[in-house]
Symmetry: C2
Subunit: 245 residues, 2 copies
Amino acid sequence: MNFTTETSAEGVIERDFVLDDVTGVLWTPETRRDNAPLILMGHSGGLHKRAPGITARATRYAADHGFSVAAIDAPGHGDRPRNAKDREWVAAMMRAREAGEPIGPIVAEYNTDLAERAVPEWRATIDALLPELGPETPVGYGGVTLGTATGLLLTAAEPRIRAASFGSVLLFDALTEAARKITVPVQLLAAWDDEEIPREYALTLFDAFATPHKTLHANPGRHNQTPWHEAETTARFYTRHLIPT
Amino acid sequence: MNFTTETSAEGVIERDFVLDDVTGVLWTPETRRDNAPLILMGHSGGLHKRAPGITARATRYAADHGFSVAAIDAPGHGDRPRNAKDREWVAAMMRAREAGEPIGPIVAEYNTDLAERAVPEWRATIDALLPELGPETPVGYGGVTLGTATGLLLTAAEPRIRAASFGSVLLFDALTEAARKITVPVQLLAAWDDEEIPREYALTLFDAFATPHKTLHANPGRHNQTPWHEAETTARFYTRHLIPT
């Protein structure tokens, strides 16, 4: 892992990093407490590691709660080139949208592929960050839509993730199966007026989680809209489950 | 309003009061901030003003958040005598339970009657408490089951209530109609494995609220079980909506 830039503002250090062909960013508080959590943030489809929702939460979490936060670009997103297959999916989505056809099936297939490719990248990122932050650092995960698809597969596979916050997502079998394997505490944030993802998907996903430590928060809002007060609730969720009392 | 007892422990003053034939209790922090909120807590059916869930939240809210908290006994509950009609309903519930018949319809009818009688009692309690606490004191409400039935009718009728937290409740038309009139911020806590109240009731109630400032929190748990972390979330809900920034 190579850190390529470093800036600092309002008590938070922000560093870009490159790990093989993965581009990422790490936010850390200037004064770090022992065993302060690392939160992995997965961005939504079409966005990138510095999407406004991620940057706002990351700087708040680092400044106010002392968390470290890492985000990486999904395959073919942000600073990473799209491969031929990615370009085909994007073209197919654009064709469907122009023709007024539903894009859900294409998004689901594309997201599955992206999520599967992102899992080993996130695991390598954890491998590289823990020596930097301290080997006992508790790790949490957070993300909506594509960030949820990735996070479900990652959390099911990666025992170092000890709490995860998810959002509404186009559900397909691989995700429901992953949820059935998740035994760490989870929070699910559902945008109740999502025009692309039916409420039923959030209810089905919530039921599927194996853990008894799960909480579903539904709020009015359209696709990818989560009210800001949930950022604070999510920080408390991580604090509750990742910081020993 | 007559205060009949006063005790103090861990920074919280607890006083019993009597207002006409209503018995209640008021918790206040020993050091009160200007315009600190007053939270009204409605207890569940069969319980009383000092039910463990109410006492635990009231003392925590007063000690940690500086709120004042008031609870009153519902008609025929706690220190208040049951009238002939109350006794009939209780007997009917016991007969149904012994016969293995559903008690839902009886509970719904009994709770409607209790909630309707409690509304003017709560309004008189607000009238009496505000001069004591300061006329500009912002008022919130919280309660589950019977406490929700009462709170829905009260919040729809009483403009001084500026934020309310509800729980799952056996829904009947008067409650849904009340929810449609509620325009202040609301939080709805649903016990997701409630053996007496179907999930659908919580979803219908959540949709019915007129306010765009609504949030639904579903947690695993049976009837009247709310995980303790929601007590803290609820305190933050009141802080967000009742304390000017």
